[in-house]
């Protein structure tokens, strides 16, 4: 009975014929390549990563102390405001984080502005807000006009150049309501947000470029897919060859 049974036992790891052995070896090789290519690469990517701050975060760190102590120069205040504005320009910021960033931006703006500028800015912000609230079409002339006017007024206060990409969104982030002082709580919250959005896992693999891509992105989004098709193709060709060799007809 036992010997009879023996003939009909199948196990991937204990092939019973040269053909199944050849198949097992091929499958194991392909699996190994597959696993290393997908998971091995990402483990490496993880191991060599260095949390790298964006330059703007270094700017923040350089100026924040004097800004909070109240002895910052105009330049430093403008840089400080620019940091929040830059993060607000990113696409995905959670609503509560937006609040922190806008508080810091508007607080800094009105620290910089002199009394005359402050009054003019507040009036302009209020009138833009009024137009904005009732517009249903962002291409409407009065809305565009109000936006451009506010931008023209705020940009010089913040010391931005006209070609600064952050000016794109500036009018939409201005507000007449802002904290009177940056409390420790405000600062802590702000720094949490900045650290979350301005530190990235970079490494040599992300800095290298291939065909315009960051290397790791190219590897995953383009190369791995090519590799998968290739592995499948190799398997099929090899199986056809093996089947022919061992006289298997399927």
């Amino acid at each position: 009975m036992e010997t009879n049974n023996q003939e009909y036992r199948i196990s991937f790891f204990k092939p019973s014929s040269p053909q199944t052995k050849a198949n097992r070896d091929m499958v194991l090789w392909l699996l190994l390549i597959w696993a290393l290519a997908v998971f091995g690469f990402h483990v490496v990517l993880k191991l060599i990563e260095e949390p790298t701050p964006e330059p703007i975060l270094l700017t923040y760190q350089a100026v924040s102390k004097s800004v909070y102590q109240g002895n910052a120069s105009l330049d430093e205040m403008q840089s400080f405001a620019g940091v929040s504005l830059q993060v607000l320009s990113k696409v995905f910021i959670a609503p509560d984080e937006r609040v922190e960033l806008r508080s810091a931006l508007n607080w800094a703006l009105f620290q910089i502005a002199d009394a005359e500028q402050e009054e003019a800015l507040k009036a302009e912000i209020a009138s833009f807000k009024a137009v904005r609230d009732k517009t249903t079409d962002i291409l409407a002339h009065d809305y565009q006009q109000a936006k451009i006017e506010l931008m023209a007024m705020a940009v010089p206060v913040l010391g931005l150049s006209d070609r600064d990409v952050r000016t794109k969104i500036l009018p939409l982030e201005l507000d007449t309501e802002y904290p009177e002082t940056m409390t420790d709580e405000n600062v802590a919250q702000l720094e949490l947000v900045l650290n979350k959005y301005l530190i990235h896992n970079e490494s040599v693999l992300t800095r290298m470029t291939v065909l315009g891509f960051p290397f790791h992105y190219f590897y995953t989004a383009v190369f791995l897919l090519i590799l998968f098709v290739l592995l499948c193709w190799i398997y099929c060709v090899r199986t056809d060859v093996l089947n022919k060799k061992y006289g298997i007809d399927d």
Binding site: N4, I10, W34, V38, Q86, F92, N201, P214, F218, V222
Partner: protein, 556 residues
């Protein structure tokens, strides 16, 4: 049929057109051009469906086993390329950057496993459905019934995301509310599935593949050309777009590169779009690996995918059809990230407002000022993608119900006519259930679909893997493994649903992270396999007839 078209036209004409609340007109009201394109495509599908109408149960289930390798490859691709691929993947990358690539890799890499571990052997085993295989290999009617129920659950989970996508696109095209769009879209896809049956669907699938892929690619050539990137091969040309997002794009000297609303094609540096597991996305290294792994083994355990191999004439064709299928799928997967990259830049302005991520493919085309008819064609392609998958899933689910549950378990002597009728009832009931869940909008489309993959990875995948490759795998082991995998699935899904309802179950942070609803197979599947092996070793061996069949028919 006629009544349906009348109904649709009636609904179209009477539908309340909602003025967009946002200040943009991306959503807008009823769009005539796209609606005509969509109706034309659907009519073509149904006509082809009628011409190749299912005549008997054999046709309904397995399309008469007469389809060529490349044709079958296209059918695999079309069946596979769903709303999750067409809309959901770009949405995930748009919202979570590099994290979204784990879905791209997971949904393609799984085919390698499927091919080298299973495809040919499944065809040699020669059963109609996944439950057929499981019931036969594990010589248990109970297991067959359980497998059939799981197949139905997987189909439902998979379909929910598809109905979500259909709803979003019908909403966009018709300018109606989401719930109404889900109802109308669901009714149309149901009618279509019922009429054509699987033979019609398989024939359609090749047409559908071509329509889906062309509609998806055309806007990419236009976008890369318009915004001055290498446009001859957008799938490579967008590399510079990714690098530009990382490094930021300054305002150009001339302002001719703008989106639909005149916003310059410029942005601050956003490395979080391309850097791995970026803190800004809230996703971690573990989650990247877990998703890729779960989706891969899920691919090799999805009943409606496994079932594809029964329709090719022989094992060699089964193998080669995977290569072709994967290649055809990759064409879409190489392209999807292009949408999210352009979408990122074109929507980088607060005036655009928060966009529905799952519709970012369509919004990107709109924001890029692509001709409305081409955008309409794109949306219609998305509907086709969801349709082809839904019809395949409804067939898989309803055949599991009619063939595996009703006939094999409850009424073995049913006539083919009764069987076909039961399959049709099953289809209707499933569609209603799916539409109801889709109305809840529980998560992003891609993630909803990923739930089905983890479920398949925890339950069906171990049964196929061990059943094919180890004769020691037996009924007791299978049951124990299913209980283990099923329990993990149940826990993960329960926590997920509780979470969406705002309930905090004990240890919910721990469970939500390690057994997230879209990747719980990362632990569930290995556990199921280990339990299966241990129990099988301790219990009586598989009967000799089955071992003999395995040796002589499957492994020779």
């Amino acid at each position: 049929m006629k009544r349906f078209i009348t109904l649709i036209i009636l609904l179209l004409s009477s539908s309340v057109i909602f003025a967009a609340n946002a200040a943009t007109d991306l959503e807008g009201g009823f769009k005539l051009g796209p609606a005509i394109i969509l109706i034309t495509i659907l009519v073509v599908f149904v006509m082809v469906g009628i011409v190749f109408r299912a005549k008997n149960t054999n046709d309904f289930y397995a399309a008469g086993r007469g389809i060529s390798k490349i044709g079958s490859g296209m059918a695999i691709a079309s069946n596979w390329m769903s709303a999750a691929s067409f809309l959901g993947m770009a949405a995930l990358m748009y919202g979570a950057g590099y994290h979204g690539l784990s879905y791209v890799v997971g949904w393609t890499g799984g085919y390698v496993l499927l091919l080298i571990l299973m495809a040919g052997q499944i065809r040699k085993y020669g059963k109609y459905t996944a439950a057929d295989f499981i019931g036969d290999r594990y010589y248990s009617r109970t297991l067959r019934a359980v497998a059939a129920v799981i197949a139905i659950l997987i189909s439902i989970a998979y379909c929910v995301g598809q109905f979500g996508g259909i709803g979003l696109l019908f909403k966009w095209i018709m300018g109606i509310e989401y719930w109404l769009a889900v109802v109308i879209g669901g009714a149309v896809v149901l009618t279509y599935t019922l009429i054509s049956g699987m033979l019609g669907v398989t024939k359609n699938m090749q047409i559908q593949y071509v329509i889906i892929i062309i509609s998806f690619l055309i806007p990419l050539f236009i976008l890369t050309f318009k915004f001055d990137y290498f446009w001859l091969l957008p799938q490579i040309g967008y590399g510079s777009v990714v690098s530009d997002i990382v490094g930021g794009i300054p305002l150009a000297e001339t302002a001719d590169l703008v989106n639909k609303y005149g916003h310059e094609f410029a942005m601050v540096p956003m490395p979080e779009y391309a850097m791995p597991w970026d803190p800004a996305t809230g996703q971690t290294f573990f989650q990247w690996i877990a998703i890729a792994f779960s989706l891969m083994i899920g691919t090799a355990g999805l009943p409606h995918v496994l079932q594809r191999f029964y329709v090719v004439p022989n094992a060699r064709d089964a193998r080669w059809s995977v290569v072709w299928g994967l290649f055809f799928i990759c064409i879409l997967y190489w392209s999807a990230p292009v949408y999210s990259a352009f979408g990122q830049i074109l929507s980088a302005h607060p005036e655009i407002g928060t966009l529905e991520k799952d519709a970012i493919v369509v919004y990107t085309a709109q924001l890029g000022n692509i001709h409305p008819l081409i955008v309409g064609f794109l949306a219609a392609g998305g509907v086709s993608a969801a349709f082809s998958t839904v019809s395949g899933l409804l067939v898989a689910g309803s055949s599991a119900f009619a063939h595996d549950l009703y006939v094999k378990v409850f009424r073995p002597n049913s006539s083919p006519k009764v069987q076909l009728r039961m399959a049709r009832y099953g289809t209707v009931v499933m569609a209603v259930i799916v539409a109801s869940i889709a109305l809840l909008k529980l998560a992003l489309i891609g993630r909803l679909v990923a739930v089905a993959f983890s479920l398949a990875g925890c339950t069906i995948f171990p049964l196929f893997l061990l059943g094919i490759w180890w004769s020691g795998s037996n009924k007791q082991g299978a049951i124990a493994g299913l209980i283990a995998g099923g329990s993990v699935s149940l826990i993960a899904i329960t926590y997920f649903i509780a979470g969406t309802q705002g309930l905090a179950l004990p240890f919910h942070e721990f469970i939500d992270y390690y057994l997230g609803a879209w990747y719980f197979a990362v632990f569930g599947a290995p556990l199921a396999i280990i339990v299966h092996i241990i129990v099988a070793k301790l219990t009586p061996e598989t009967p000799i007839e089955i071992r003999k069949f395995l040796t002589e028919s499957v492994h020779s």
